[in-house]
Symmetry: C2
Subunit: 352 residues, 2 copies
């Protein structure tokens, strides 16, 4: 029998708690899929241990408040980083990767801001850095690009990859609300944060798009180079969906069309262009089918034409399934999410 995979779980929000629950209740089933290797929850870092209430956490599992100290002071095989935000997550990842410890993270902001440095560090220390859950939650996407579509020359990726803004646009369309009302409704329904600006202004989608750009085109596009301000309706003048009006939605609906916040990264000659702007979509556009918090991504390239994937873009247990798939892959010896995809020296188009 192989040694168990010792896991440090950092963060016990909705995804972290769901990861802990799967590891604690589903051990045998998961080991069966990891060549018999047990995925062992060794420690949890959280400032609010109450979030683990109801889970039968064995006595041997350390519960600590400081993720940086936990990772610095004890050996683990994998660090699962679900803290979110730039720090202390960044310090934790640098510490772990530097020590050659594998990392699984869902932290799109950190990857978008520091992906290039983190990739370099993971390559130096030969530690696996996996991040399937960072884009499109429980929907398979990143490894599909890196492994299944490895023989495809990708030309463009377009997606609806922010569930909050899609829920808002959807309810503007179906309930005739204006933006402020729909944002309030999203907040009341638990689909938007108290400060929803990362979603509304397209920043969250831009972070995810930077990760998609790395896998599709081999370079980490600077977040600032992702265009987020629409120059024409729908949404003219505002970042993300901030400028979308009820009139924009109604104008689209009068033509049988739908407004969606479309994240798009594409090759144009030697440049890579990236943008997150509201678009009015024809009803037969695959992205137009995105309802509620569903994510839909269309990957276009030669010689496959277009491959479209849709599924849950959020939700603790669904996103936890992506985290656990990364853990199983690491238990079975896999490397980083970019797999064999080389890093390139292409220049992204300047921010406009």
């Amino acid at each position: 029998v192989s040694a168990p995979l010792r896991i440090a779980l950092l963060g016990a929000g909705s995804v972290g708690r769901a990861v802990a629950e799967r590891l604690l209740t589903d051990g045998e089933w998961l080991a069966d899929r990891a060549d018999g290797r047990r995925l062992e929850l060794s420690a949890v870092a959280t400032r609010t241990p109450a979030r683990l209430a109801g889970l039968k956490v064995p006595q041997g599992v350390a519960i600590e408040s400081d993720p940086v100290a936990l990772v610095a002071n004890r050996p683990f095989d994998v660090v699962v980083e679900l803290l979110g935000g730039l720090e202390p997550a960044g310090e934790v990842l640098r510490t772990a990767l530097d020590a050659g410890t594998a990392v699984v993270t869902a932290n799109k902001m950190l990857l978008a801001e520091s992906g290039e440095a983190l990739e370099a560090q993971a390559r130096r220390s030969r530690a696996a850095l996996r991040f399937e859950a960072a884009v499109a939650g429980g929907t398979p996407l990143l490894s599909v690009i890196a492994e299944d579509l490895v023989a495809v020359r990708i030309e463009r990726i377009r997606g609806v990859i922010n569930g909050t803004t899609n829920w808002i646009l959807d309810s503007m369309e179906t309930s005739g609300l204006d933006l402020a009302e729909a944002v309030a409704a999203a907040r009341a329904a638990g689909y938007a944060e108290a400060d929803p600006s990362l979603d509304i202004e397209g920043i969250d989608a831009a972070h995810k798009l930077v990760i998609l750009g790395r896998l599709a085109f081999g370079l980490w596009i600077p977040v600032a180079a992702v265009r987020r301000v629409a120059t024409e309706p729908p949404g003219a003048g505002g970042p993300g969906i901030a400028g979308v009006t009820r009139a924009d939605i109604e104008a689209a609906r009068a033509q049988g069309q739908h407004v969606r916040l479309v994240a798009e990264v594409r090759r144009r000659g030697a440049d890579i262009e990236a943008e997150v702007v509201p678009r009015q979509l024809l009803p037969d556009d695959p992205l137009a089918a995105a309802r509620g918090v569903t994510n839909i991504v269309a990957i276009e390239g030669q010689p496959v034409g277009s491959v479209t994937i849709s599924g849950p873009g959020a939700g603790g247990p669904a996103t936890a399934a992506a985290v656990i798939a990364d853990l199983v892959r690491i238990a079975r010896g896999a490397g980083s999410t970019w797999a064999g995809l080389p890093a390139r020296d292409l220049q992204p188009a300047a921010a406009r």
Copy 2:
């Protein structure tokens, strides 16, 4: 620099020729994605070398007529089997796997009929057996189930996975043809074989469904246990789409619905049920969107709900990209398509 991956290519039909072309013209780009390992076309078995016309096949590449002798007499790292049919493909696979040689195949008929024995043999000799191209052509599907969705308990897979019948149903709907006329049109357009019965009667889709069943539920369902005869309209009484009438299509259209040949494998208690029958689908059913030869598959399970994937179900170059992705995976040390998924002892429901 690692040693090249020596490849024997068996079959030079549309997919085989496209594989040869990629290997011969795209060597550096592919090696870049295979940790620097070259995918080297070492030999081709074909009875009609004219099919390689126009490709610059280097002198060192053996071109032989007998695939069995080729694989028995020379060492390769991977055998790519694109012969189709049960024999001699079966003998070739048994010979290769027995010798511990990796196999990449698109042969859904052989896998459906002999998958259990081939899997046992591959496990014994620790040879990789990969078959991504066997279902849904260039659309990523099998590794998505085996790896990306490894932490998902799959309950049901439903798909439109036979492009020929979908093209036929689509043109019955859009052009008002009856079945015989639409079959003739599909033949004229190159979307149906001279003898289209494998497609029409749902046998090809049943083969693919057996492969999906293995990945979703851990067992090789006997092909005969896949129900193919509809008991009610559309298609009542005939196998596959053989019983679908213009009246069935028109009745569906009058309700704004679409007839599709739906392949479905699902868990019901301790049983696994599988069927390939025409269904009248609501317009918002994700499978209803299948047009022409596009494949669409919806994977349902906990805790993700539903993940839907669509893309090209056929076409030489697109399907070749799936074959080459398997080759890259093997070059990078991957095992079989089922990855860590265990084989189970569940009993399929008897054929009805």
